[in-house]
Symmetry: C2
Subunit: 873 residues, 2 copies
């Protein structure tokens, strides 16, 4: 029979898929002799089985759990529900990948009206005992019984007001007893049942609540946002309680072995005397720096620093550790890899390689390529910052800078984001329910909570700027305003957050480009040395090209010529071209466009030096260049001196039912060969000019939207004709390549034919995805979200290559293409070129390069290195 | 060295690819001892080589031709250009597949100013000699020198007027001499050169003209229209002249061994005494019935009837024979398979099988399935058609003939129909809102859209005549008129459509109903006995279903449920459903639609008896059911009692950039499961009702637009839920199947996954072609024509399955699908299901059935039989 429950001593860190992160690490710490309170873990397989058993805990599992509990009771010499000296346990969820949004913790389980008396007697601390009991009812009520938290919190607030005290600790035993009574009434009222007195029932209910929390909406949203599969399930860890709130020789803390914000190799964390763990996390009391523990609990501190170092060495990565000191004695409650900013990650990884702790390959694999994004984006312009007014200062919880409009609720944030606003979410504190609002926001500001509060942890994970614990602020979420000492800010007002300093500014502040430091350069050098896939950029202007080269682009993989026609002085010539009734008139307009287009290429070639530049000939349907609103048509008609009727007629004629599948790409060239002729002339003349200046440019002329090799042959013939003419006129020959996009399914299926006439393929995975799925990107947004919510699509295929379908076509094209032309050059220029999973796939199927937007070039370089490590050729 | 010229005695009918039809058959007749004037044929390979040699006749070919000419001269004892007794020859083109549009014939070659005198002397008939010479100049001038024919004809007319005679024969020798002189002046004036006197030069020029005529525009267009490859080339036949115009003991004629119009087994043809062949063909003199030859030239007649019978037996097919009687002696000039109407073909084939001449298989293979279409629809009375005026020509989108009064709106059409008028609906293009108007009309004419436009598809489904894409017309629907270049037609005017040719005529033309005789039934029985592919129909109404059963449909392969919602009493409920703001409101509207939909199925099931019926759940995007014009929106708003603004807002919200790739098919069911729930309930309740009446209906529920198996699983789950509920409510279980369309490329690529949840696949090749090519059917009409003109596409892939691309995906889907589910049922329901080449492909890849519109069912049955003969399994 399958084993579903493991005592800590039966597990190890390798069993993470089964025991979850928390359970596996508690087992590992137990195994290597660290002080861990005893316990056991119910496996992720049990959770999966639970869902298959119609959401019921089946009898065998119940028996196995109670059996393991009995072992624990024997080991501890205490029994759950024992009246004299009751065993108390915590119940925690523990997913394989750490996941806020799920039920986290129930403490003090095992207390009831009778055992609380035993605990009071045995500990000699009745106040502690009743405080613990009311905490149990509150947590159990919230997460197991789903009673709104505020129903308990308001009673606690009321009691504190009544007693005129500001913190819980100041309440007396009777106060806690009274609270226990009123909490129990809340439970009775809300659930129509008394608070469960059977401690075994408490345990089973808690375990079931953890199982259920795996599939609550918050957890699902988080998983979708973080690419975590829905079918992993969560483990449940049951652990003997130790108490940080047993007096001033007790306490609890959270620490990182290195600074999670900067990466500096120095213990970093927070500590509260006489408190339970959730007091730190919830941000109810503002904790002290971990270093202050040295004076308050010197022995425990010394022991802890040694354990922390040992854990980092043992795990060979920066650790995030939770511990409790129970009457002077240190207990380890959790260790896991520490979440960190991209800055911190890079520094820590470089340091660890230099310390000899890990290899370069390990360092590269541990970085999340997408996180590099935060390093590349602007920070506040110092000049602008100098004039800005600091309205308060909080903790620099997650680096970056953001300016935007204030929203006080996640709903408002989502709405404002949809309306195109940049949002700063302002909350007293955040909770897992706020996840969607946080996703929608550019930055997060909280009044409560520290560097390890929910807001801080989640924001860092998302790479979003966050200032937490800005305690001077008075935030009224209901009435939608916040105040500092002098001013009041309302929903919609602009504020700015600096996640590197913790400063919060009034108003909108200009930003400036990121500067990439030495650690970043080191990581990129390592990545470049290992990767085999080249990284190019999609750029249509000299400015973007220069930016991309700065970020390490090795060429242009996609230069979209259509963007060049939208500039003010060109669009009207372009329109004149489109509206031409005769070939002569069209050629005349094209002759005006040619020198401008040639100059575009000259400038881009200059920036790119001798790097390859792939130029895609005109792709969009012509109606994209014409106005559609009546008043714009009228203006254009008078500008071009044609009748409104005639212009309207042309707009109507050019309109298409499905423009995506319409008259565009090479299809335009079949109808109007003179457009591509002009473009090829501009490319070849620019190349000739650059040659004269000593540059060895090799333009790669790319013909879009090929579905049938005869289309390619037709266009290629005209391209070659122009190339020959330019060579004759200039008396110079320059090299070039002619290739095609693979973006139509039929081109992939017939790639052996296509490759006979193409020197290179560039996968246009945007269109290929549209046609393979039959999804219009412009329209599918409406239902793709629904598809993801309902689990029909794991990922948006426009963000990450669908390996099963689109990827299969790509593989077919690579295989057939290489059969016809073994030296076929292969690349990708769709949006996917900057997505790490897609980059990995491109490496796996043997492409030569990926091409992506300039800011994604570093991401692609790292992702390519990771792919090369994972799939060496 | 390759041989490019063959004497008749060196060839045979098997050498048709090399010698062309004409040359091969002359060789064959020579071989079997029939009286054929001597000659030789220059091969098709020579023609192809001519094009590769930069359109020059190279020296070796010239030498080979002159060599063969010399042999001929020796055989005949006459020489080309001989002054005393000159050899005269004809030069004719002879393609492998008979092809009007190319140069046909030059007669009397070898005459010049000197040899004409020799001919006059030797024949003792100077008038004949000069008449022959002027004929040569005229024909040579026309086809070799490209001088407009009328320049010669007008001179001949003038001469006849001058001499006051009505026919050429009445002219005297001097007249012909004078004509020769004036013809020669025309040649000098038009070509700046005299008429060539060198007889070898005449021969070379004529051969080259034949080569050139292979690529003239008329010939290219004809080949495109008839699927003849452009690279076959034409042969050239040079043959000694015989003369039917040597007096009353001479003559010329053309005859079919059977009646080409009815198929009756009786010699049928025409004959002219004292005439050359072109007199018959040109229709200058009205020829006599072949039977009259019996009296006029009894011996020659007797010999000819024997030869005709011999040729039919020898070729085992009905022959079309040209002959000449030269002073009492019969000469065979051509024999070939006789072109015939579909009626005649069917009768002749059945008769020949019964006569023991050919096998059933041969009979079936010789019929062109597409021709059957003309048998099933009304046609114009030929007599009436002769006088009719063609006002424009569009695409022959749906067969048949119709005359009626013009209406410009569906409303007007319905009204006129109710008033007892016969209506032709004239629209720029049609949309689903026009359905009722289309139903009310006898024929449909559109200015836009191709062979697969909405109008074309719907009309074919209804078996109505349709001419689409009549782009020369300017249709103004608002002001209710349309124009061609010269005339304007108003509502109520009579016009006539010929759906077989695309011709549109002014006025009312009498039509003849289709008659399906016993021969047709016999052919269909033979086809059914041989074919292995089943044939179903696409039908959405009991009427169409009944029609299809009459035509031999073995089930319904596609019942499109959306068409059922366009009826007047339903469209407003449908619209109310779409505009519902709440689930309740939507369910309420659906509950109203349910009984109507159930009744649809009950009626169709009754018609279909125990035949399978595949029902596709709702497919089109919802906006197709809403009006788009402002005034229609206003009317609908008041009808549904919603504000105009709200309705406009909804229409805007539902509008899509690329509706083809938008929110439709199963994607609707993910968002609005209740729509499919209603449909499945209607299907299952109807099935239960029929069961109660003793019918064993097995509905095949088809889920459209699947691209990912999880979509199918999602919808299947809801379908099964409803099936279970209906079974519980009725207390009865009925059988059913659940399957899917394969119309998204990704579904084909992942067909192994999809087949695990689908009991059948039906290839939706319309959409599959759209997405595989990236062609929108609604938009591609514009450039597909250009693609075909430029040779980029051989065939419109929406008419004939593209085997290389779309077909490859189909093969993949069949292979993968059968791997997962060996008994997977496979069919096709796209328009291609009625195209013979596509039917053949479906047979080859192992589908179980094809499904097509009712009127194409017989075509598919025959095509399936041909496929089974060609590719026995």
């Amino acid at each position: 029979m399958k084993k579903f429950v493991y005592a800590f001593r039966e597990g190890s860190k390798e069993m993470k898929p089964l025991l979850g992160g928390k359970g596996a690490n508690l087992a590992e710490m137990t195994r290597i002799g660290l002080p861990v309170p005893g316990g056991f873990t119910i496996t992720t397989e049990a959770c999966i089985e639970y869902y298959q058993q119609d959401n019921k805990i089946w009898n065998d599992l119940k028996a196995e759990m109670l059996n393991k509990l009995q072992e624990l009771e024997e080991e501890m010499g205490k029994k759950l529900g024992d009246l004299a000296d009751p065993l108390l346990v915590s119940v925690r969820s523990g997913a394989v990948i750490s996941m806020p949004g799920m039920m986290d913790t129930i403490l003090n389980l095992g207390l009831n009206d009778e055992t609380v008396q035993g605990l009071a007697r045995f500990s000699g601390n009745p106040k502690f005992a009743y405080d613990s009991y009311r905490r149990l009812i509150q947590m159990f009520g919230d997460v197991v019984l789903e009673i709104p938290k505020y129903k308990f919190e308001s009673l606690l607030e009321k009691k504190k007001n009544e007693k005129n005290v500001s913190s819980d600790i100041e309440l007396a035993t009777e106060d806690f007893q009274a609270l226990v009574d009123s909490y129990k009434q809340v439970v009775q009222k809300e659930t129509k049942k008394p608070f469960p007195q059977d401690t075994h029932e408490q345990l089973l209910m808690a375990v079931e609540a953890v199982f259920k929390s795996w599939n609550n909406p918050r957890a699902r949203i988080y998983r979708e946002h973080n690419d975590i599969p829905h079918d992993l399930g969560t483990a449940v860890t049951v652990q003997v309680m130790v108490f940080g709130n047993m007096g001033n020789d007790s306490g609890t803390g959270v620490a990182f072995t290195r600074n999670p914000s900067t990466g500096e190799n120095k213990l970093y964390g927070e500590f509260l005397v006489n408190a339970q763990g959730e007091d730190v996390v919830a941000g109810i009391r503002t904790p002290k720096d971990i270093n202050e523990m040295k004076e308050l609990l010197p022995e425990a501190y010394q022991q802890f620093t040694e354990v922390a170092q040992l854990l980092e060495k043992h795990y060979r990565d920066m650790q995030d550790i939770e511990f409790t000191v129970d009457r002077g004695k240190l207990f380890m409650l959790q260790t896991r890899t520490g979440k960190r900013t991209a800055h911190a990650a890079i520094r820590a990884m470089v340091d660890m390689v230099e310390e000899g702790l890990i290899t370069k390959e390990e360092a590269l694999l541990r970085l999340n390529p997408s996180d590099l994004d935060q390093l590349l984006h602007p920070t506040f312009d110092e000049q602008a910052l100098a004039d800005a007014k600091v309205l308060t200062k909080g903790l620099p919880a997650s680096s970056g800078a953001a300016s935007g409009k204030v929203c006080f609720t996640p709903e408002a944030a989502v709405k404002a984001k949809e309306a195109g606003e940049i949002v700063i979410l302002v909350r007293n504190e955040t909770s897992p329910e706020d996840i969607e609002g946080m996703v929608a926001s550019a930055g997060i500001l909280t009044a409560k909570g520290g560097m390890t509060s929910h807001a801080a942890v989640v924001a860092r994970g998302m790479g979003k700027c966050c200032v937490s614990g800005a305690g001077e602020l008075n935030i009224n979420e209901q009435e939608k305003y916040f105040k500092n000492e002098t001013d009041t800010f309302h929903e919609g007002d602009f504020i700015s957050l600096d996640g590197n300093t913790g400063n919060v500014y009034a108003g909108n502040i200009a930003t400036r480009e990121a500067r990439l430091g030495g650690y970043f350069v080191t990581i990129m050098e390592w990545a470049d040395a290992i990767r085999t896939l080249k990284v190019r950029t999609n750029a249509d202007t000299p400015r973007d090209s220069a930016k991309a080269v700065e970020f390490g682009a090795e060429g242009i993989g996609l230069c979209r010529t259509e963007h060049m026609f939208f500039e003010e002085n060109r669009i009207s010539v372009m329109r004149r071209m489109i509206l031409s009734r005769t070939l002569e008139a069209r050629k005349k307009a094209l002759a005006e466009l040619m020198p401008m287009q040639r100059q575009d290429f000259v400038e881009i070639f200059k920036v790119m030096g001798d790097r390859p530049v792939t130029i895609r000939l005109l792709d969009p349907p012509l109606h994209e260049f014409l106005p559609s609103e009546a008043k714009d048509i009228e203006r254009l008609a008078s500008e071009l001196e044609v009748s409104i009727e005639q212009l309207k007629e042309t707009v109507r004629e050019l309109a298409e039912v499905n423009p995506m599948l319409g008259h565009r790409g090479c299809r335009l060239a079949v109808t109007y060969p003179e457009i591509y002729e002009m473009q090829v002339q501009a490319i070849m003349e620019a190349t000739t000019i650059l040659k004269g200046e000593g540059h060895a440019v090799i333009p790669e002329i790319m013909i879009p939207l090929i579905g049938e090799v005869k289309e390619l042959q037709f266009v290629k013939e005209l391209v070659l004709r122009v190339i020959k003419r330019v060579a004759e006129e200039s008396g110079q020959t320059v090299p070039y390549m002619i290739g095609t996009m693979i973006e139509i399914p039929r081109a992939a299926i017939t790639a052996d034919d296509v490759a006979r006439d193409a020197e290179f393929f560039s996968f246009g995975t945007n269109d290929l995805t549209q046609m393979t799925y039959g999804f219009s990107r412009d329209d599918a947004g409406k239902f793709i979200k629904e598809y993801r919510d309902k689990g029909i699509l794991e990922k948006d295929p426009f963000q990450q290559i669908d390996r099963r379908g689109v990827g299969e076509l790509m593989k077919t094209a690579v295989k057939l293409g290489k059969e016809s032309r073994p030296d076929l050059k292969l690349g990708i220029c769709g949006e996917h070129g900057g997505d790490p999973s897609s980059v990995e796939f491109c490496h796996m199927i043997g492409l030569d390069y990926v091409s992506c937007s300039p800011f994604r070039v570093p991401i692609a370089r790292l992702a390519a290195a990771q792919a090369a490590i994972r799939y060496p050729s």
